[in-house]
């Protein structure tokens, strides 16, 4: 479990995060949603320690990241996997070498063991036959999956995904969402996803934190979004005509049946 308490962060005198507190649960897909510029990425980077907030706490199972010494941070980092918006695969390494990279840096495994583990991770994300290709030679969707394979190579306890669906077509987006959700359950990870993709919110949002202009506006589940009484959330979630229609249908009909139909039950 990860808790953030009273996080404040400014850049050049402009406050980006205003006193943010939230809890992210293990075994659940926790979503941070909000418009572009609402502070989602800054919050995520503050949680993983890439950005140091001015005040507040980032608690990993009760232990504050901001008070850890360098060896504790290093240990924690080995328990974190992250999927970046642009995949952030290393250009100079092949797909297999990318997945083997964390194993090479942080384990004493032999070459054979590393290859075996990397191949297992690639199979888990349904990637086959591209082991020796470079990231620039595979599609965006495949790059995301390879990045997920790299992120889970060390069996992390925490998985962070920064806009995992950006630049992907709707079908591939669903594949990535389901993959992240399945892996979260399978390894009981604490997964935090930054997104403004409403399909992701409706598909895998088990614990949703809504940010608006750097403020935490709302927390709830995907089911609760429909009945939430928050104007900013309403404006954001139901901005498109499609979702306006969905809301109309859901409010008129039955909320449970909507999500049952969506998950194919």
């Amino acid at each position: 479990m990860i808790e953030v308490k009273n996080i404040v962060k400014s850049f050049e005198g402009k406050t980006i995060l205003h006193d943010i507190s939230a809890t992210f649960y293990a075994g659940k897909t926790n979503l941070i949603i909000g418009q572009s510029g609402s502070g989602k990425t800054v919050l995520m980077k503050s949680i993983v320690g890439l950005i140091r907030p001015e005040s507040g706490q980032v608690l990993y199972n009760g232990k504050d990241l901001l008070k850890m010494n360098s060896s504790e941070v290093r240990t924690l980092r080995s328990e974190i996997g992250m999927l970046f918006q642009g995949s952030a695969l290393f250009d100079s390494l092949t797909v297999l070498e990318n997945v083997m990279f964390p194993l090479k840096m942080f384990t004493r495994q032999s070459m054979v063991e590393r290859v075996k583990r990397a191949e297992f991770c690639l199979e888990r994300v349904n990637i086959k036959g591209v082991n020796n290709l470079y990231p620039s030679e595979i599609s965006g969707g495949m790059q995301k999956r390879v990045a997920i394979a790299r992120a889970i190579a060390l069996n992390p306890k925490y998985l962070f995904c920064d806009e995992p669906n950006s630049g992907l077509d709707p079908r591939t987006s669903i594949v990535i969402d389901e993959l992240v959700s399945d892996i979260t359950k399978e390894y009981n990870m604490t997964t935090i996803i930054n997104t403004h993709d409403m399909n992701s919110v409706m598909g895998i949002g088990e614990n949703i934190v809504f940010l608006n202009k750097g403020h935490k506006e709302w927390v709830g589940t995907k089911e609760e979004i429909f009945t939430a009484k928050n104007e900013a959330l309403d404006d954001f979630v139901f901005a498109s005509n499609l979702f306006k229609m969905v809301k109309k249908y859901v409010v008129k009909e039955n909320l449970e049946s909507f999500f049952d139909n969506k998950s194919g039950k």
Partner: protein
Amino acid sequence: MILTKSLEKFGDYVMLMTRVFSAPDRWSEFFRRYIAEVYKLGIDSIAIVVTISLFIGAVITIQVSLNIMSPLIPAYTVGLVTRDTLILEFSSSIMSLILAGKIGSNIASEIGTMRVTEQIDALDIMGVNSANYLILPKIIALVTFIPVLVVFSMFTGLMGGYLIASFTGMISTAKYIYGLQSFFVEYYIWYSIIKSFFFAFVISSVASYYGYNARGGALEVGKASTDSVVVSSVMILLLDVLLTNLLLQ
């Protein structure tokens, strides 16, 4: 204002270097990257060093022979002046300025692109000391390989002079070679190599600093690359004055 900004940047640079000069996470990985960087930064630069040195050696020979054409000055002086010009200044300082353009922009744009595409963030998230992992092999590779480039430059520069002497007949090759051998001071070679160590460090570390701190997109990577070349060139010139004063007094 400019002074404050410059001091801030220098402070950032020193902070980055303290992160760079720490023990690598994995020595085997460091050596693998070191070899790759020697190839990329050093061996790949031999062609440009040889080409430029060959032509500059030829040009210096022509210029000297045209400018000191006098019955009072012995003809072998052409060889002597060409040799000392190449060894004392061209092969270390001027060649380093050229390498600041080639290697410096390469390093700054490579690391800058890794920064803006979040590859450096990915390394940091994994717990890898990204500054050490990316920059140290580059600095060590260039510092250890630059004497090879300097010696190549000296040799091919002198060869350029020899070839132009034999093709144009401005000066006999025998006199040119006699000039090369006259009043030879071995220390000048060492002086040139010692200077090049400093220049190699400046080229690789300044370019890495600008690349590592690039923010934004392609435009910023381009700017980081340009800034690195400008700053390292100025640093090389300043260091040249300082080191010449120190080493040749």
